[in-house]
């Protein structure tokens, strides 16, 4: 499609649509700065993205093949007197590694559950397989339920009206030149429960929204506050995380964390209930006794409280979510944060966005666009033009060779060439696994639970693993399945770190005797670089260039939100960070000039009014919510 040219002058050009970059974009646009926001990928949110099942298969294929850096073009003709050209990195090969996929369910629907068909594809060596898999995806995509037999011989990618489930990526055409293997499908549906086939996963692929990062939103964390403050929260809906679970002595147990939970708990004795309540009440405020433990492990502090093994486990691993050697002050701070977030919206401290975390950066991008920001995916910046004298970036050259002037440039860290990055500590990695399973790790009355599962190290030197199990009503997986995310700081490769946990908690071909456990239908392992140690500035880059890091290992989103605010305040110290957007009802079209300024005043008034009220409202909220859960 013939694309029009971009305007050639902006206040801020932002490269990469990860969370921090997207918040920065919204913040600048909101206060009237002209923003150009581009991403070389065909989808939003970079390593924060979520994909349909088929979209994820494409992502896997891309990451197994490795990237093909485009040829560096010669833009020297665009360089003006007194300018120097800095090339940006044009490949994203470093952030994702060790991609491994295992399909444990049968390829097609079968009458009876049989020995699962295991296929493995490893990075590098198995390109052929990856291509095969992708082409299977293609072929299954274009089939419709009733007509698939007939369509067998018709060519791929027929008319536009036909239902096609292309990879989730925006507006991308499925490659029509893929060979279409004629995998005949039996559509017989026996009444008895059977495993969902791979074909079915592909066919229902659009019902999945699989996040590359697995985080939760603390209900009083900086991201929730920012979403509410800016009114970006309007663009999304949320669900409560309904349970906190932990894995202990080979069993999955529910962690009682709210007052209601504690009293309803059947695992705890009356004495334990009292002890736990007393402990939770006492640690809200800092005491002399606690201070005495500063610098010593939290575990020691807990031991000395005579809580017993049960409570100690819950408090250390599931409430504070720290390790055995974490200092007491840190453990207590973490515990307090957990308690502070309880009861704002639900029974646990956490929220999860419906359709997955990948929605959040998109919501901020929309806010940016609503205030005039210009969006362009599949578009990159290849070079910076730097004024030699002032060491400031004056303009950038985009992937089409257009010179675009800007006052500030913000970019995702993966675009910074290795030679220009100043990295103090060796790059850390996250180990990730994504499982599609057929039942919950802890079945309950409701099959629509969203659970956080804390898995302490299974042996010395092994990482603590955080697991999030999502149900289909979170709109992240098809009905009848669960989507399970595992995350830890890497010790080895993702498979080395996480497969022992998977095999002990789930039924896989490697753990076939785990009959009572959920079966894994499909799983993916990969490592992602954790660049959160990277500084925003201080690299071998011009002074008005700012670097955003990718996702970090923490459960919450504080790092990205803080980074975005830091960049905004560095550039516009006088301006308000993400003031509320006006309510739709308040927008007044003022004759011939529907200018946003006409509405801003109102919005600010709206803001002013609330300070006190807001707190009252929140308290009311808490009370209301607490009374909302009488059953516990």
């Amino acid at each position: 499609m013939a694309a029009e040219d971009l305007p050639s002058e902006f206040d801020v050009v932002i490269l990469g649509t990860g969370l921090a970059e997207s918040v920065v974009a919204a913040a600048f646009s909101r206060v009237g700065q002209r923003v150009l926001h581009v991403d070389r990928r065909s989808y939003y949110a970079a390593n924060w993205a979520s994909f349909t099942f088929n979209g994820l298969l494409t992502w896997i294929q891309e990451n197994q093949e490795g990237s093909h850096p485009e040829e560096a073009q010669d833009w020297s003709s665009l360089v003006e007197e007194g300018e120097e050209l800095i090339r940006l990195s044009n490949s994203d090969s470093t952030s994702i590694s060790n991609v491994q996929v295992f399909t444990y369910t049968s390829e097609e629907d079968e009458e009876e559950e049989e020995a699962p068909n295991t296929t493995e594809e490893e990075t590098g060596g198995a390109e052929g397989d990856a291509v095969k898999e992708a082409s299977e995806t293609e072929s299954a995509d274009s089939k419709e339920e009733e007509t698939e037999e007939k369509q067998e011989e018709t060519a791929e990618g027929g008319g536009g009206g036909e239902e096609e489930q292309a990879p989730s990526t925006e507006g991308e055409e499925p490659e029509a030149d893929q060979p279409a293997p004629s995998a005949a499908q039996s559509q017989s549906e026996p009444a008895k429960k059977k495993k969902i086939s791979y074909t079915k996963l592909v066919k229902e692929g659009r019902r999945f929204n699989i996040d590359l990062v697995s985080k939760l939103m603390y209900s009083r964390g900086s991201l929730v506050d920012l979403l509410i403050k800016s009114n970006v929260s309007r663009y999304a809906e949320f669900k409560n995380v309904t349970r906190i679970l932990t894995y202990r002595n080979g069993q999955v147990e529910q962690v009682p964390c709210s007052r209601a939970d504690v009293f309803a708990s059947r695992q705890l004795s009356v004495v334990e209930k009292r002890k736990l309540m007393r402990f939770l009440t006492s640690c809200v405020e800092e005491t002399e006794e606690q201070r005495a433990y500063n610098g010593r492990p939290y575990l020691e502090f807990l031991r000395d409280q005579q809580l017993g093994d049960n409570l100690q486990h819950f408090l250390l691993h599931s409430i504070a979510m720290v390790t055995e050697d974490t200092p007491t002050e840190e453990g207590l701070a973490s515990t307090r944060n957990f308690l502070r977030c309880l009861g704002r919206y639900g029974n646990t401290p956490f929220l999860f966005p419906v359709y997955g975390l990948g929605e959040i950066p998109q919501c901020f991008c929309r806010m940016c666009a609503v205030f005039g920001g210009i969006y362009c995916l599949r578009h990159s910046v290849t070079c910076l033009l730097v004024d030699k004298e002032s060491n400031r970036c004056k303009a950038v050259i985009d992937s089409r060779g257009q010179r675009i002037t800007c006052s500030h440039f913000v970019m995702e860290d993966s675009y910074v060439g290795v030679d220009r990055k100043k990295v103090d500590t060796p790059t850390r990695f996250l180990s990730r696994a994504v499982l599609i399973t057929d039942s919950s790790v802890l079945p309950s009355d409701s099959d629509q639970q969203v659970s956080l599962v804390t898995v302490p190290p299974i042996a010395a030197g092994r990482p603590a693993v955080r697991m999030v199990e999502l149900c289909s009503s979170s709109m992240t997986c098809m009905p009848g399945t669960y989507l399970v995310h595992l995350t830890c700081q890497s010790v080895g490769s993702a498979h080395e770190d996480l497969s022992p946990v998977v095999n002990s908690m789930f039924r896989t071909p490697e753990s076939p005797d785990q009959e009572t456990r959920p079966s894994v239908l499909w799983c993916l392992y990969f490592n992602m670089a954790d660049s959160s140690g990277l500084e925003v500035q201080g690299h071998d880059l011009p002074s008005n260039v700012y670097v955003c890091s990718g996702p970090d290992a923490a459960l919450g989103h504080d790092h990205a939100v803080k980074q975005a605010e830091f960049i905004f305040q560095k550039i516009l110290p006088e301006e308000d960070f993400c003031p509320p957007a006006p309510n739709p009802e308040d927008i007044i079209y003022d004759g011939d000039n529907p200018s946003p300024t006409a509405t801003e005043g109102e919005a600010e008034e709206g803001e002013g009014e609330t300070k006190e009220e807001k707190e009252v409202q929140e308290q009311e909220e808490v009370q209301e919510e607490q009374s909302l859960h009488p059953e516990e």
Partner: protein
């Protein structure tokens, strides 16, 4: 009367009059040099339908369609989509198919689709025959109507037609973990997401 919030997303090429249609519907106002997407997260208008009130939350593309960069979140939970083309620009009709395909890929399955041929006040320079457009709409079971945001022709009707096609509310399930909005208001609305 029960108020039901219905998200409607607008699709169509840049310049076909998406924003003008909303502006006419919501504000009964038309402006030649409109830049209404600025600052408007979405616009709302409530219309009665049977014994319900339909509160339309009308989402504009905010210009993100211009460089083919609409985000999937734009389509989430939409009850209806209005795909707009310009009857004086054949190109904008030819890309309808592309928008229908986008919608099939990213939109909810049960979405009500309406196709609006805008600028029908400019009949003398028409490039898209009404018959052809109507047939196309029928082929995908979509509502079809020609509108003029400028002369306020058929804009109300477009939304009335959509209202009528919205399936009645299913029995409110007793779902313990419903999705909700987070706002500064004391009681978050608990509209089901789809």
């Amino acid at each position: 009367m029960a108020i039901r919030e219905l998200k409607v997303c607008l699709l169509g090429d840049t310049g076909v009059g998406k924003s003008s249609i909303v502006c006419r519907f919501v504000q009964d106002h038309f402006d030649h040099n409109i830049s209404p997407t600025i600052g408007a997260s979405f616009l709302t208008k409530t219309v009665p339908c049977g014994n319900e009130l339909h509160k339309f939350l009308i989402w504009d593309t905010a210009g993100q369609e211009r460089f083919h960069s609409l985000a999937p979140m734009y389509y989430r939970g939409s009850a209806a989509a209005v795909i707009v083309y310009d009857i004086t620009k054949l190109d904008s009709f030819q890309t309808l198919k592309k928008w229908v395909k986008e919608l099939k890929e990213h939109g909810p399955e049960d979405i009500v689709v309406a196709i609006a041929g805008n600028k029908n006040d400019l009949g003398d320079i028409r490039e898209v025959p009404m018959k052809e457009a109507k047939e196309f709409a029928e082929s995908i079971a979509a509502i079809f109507i020609e509108t003029s945001a400028r002369n306020a022709v058929n804009v109300e009707e477009l939304f009335q037609k959509i209202s009528k096609q919205i399936p009645p509310l299913e029995n409110p399930e007793v779902e313990s973990n419903e999705s909700f909005k987070i706002t500064r208001q004391p009681t978050p609305s608990t509209r089901r997401c789809c």
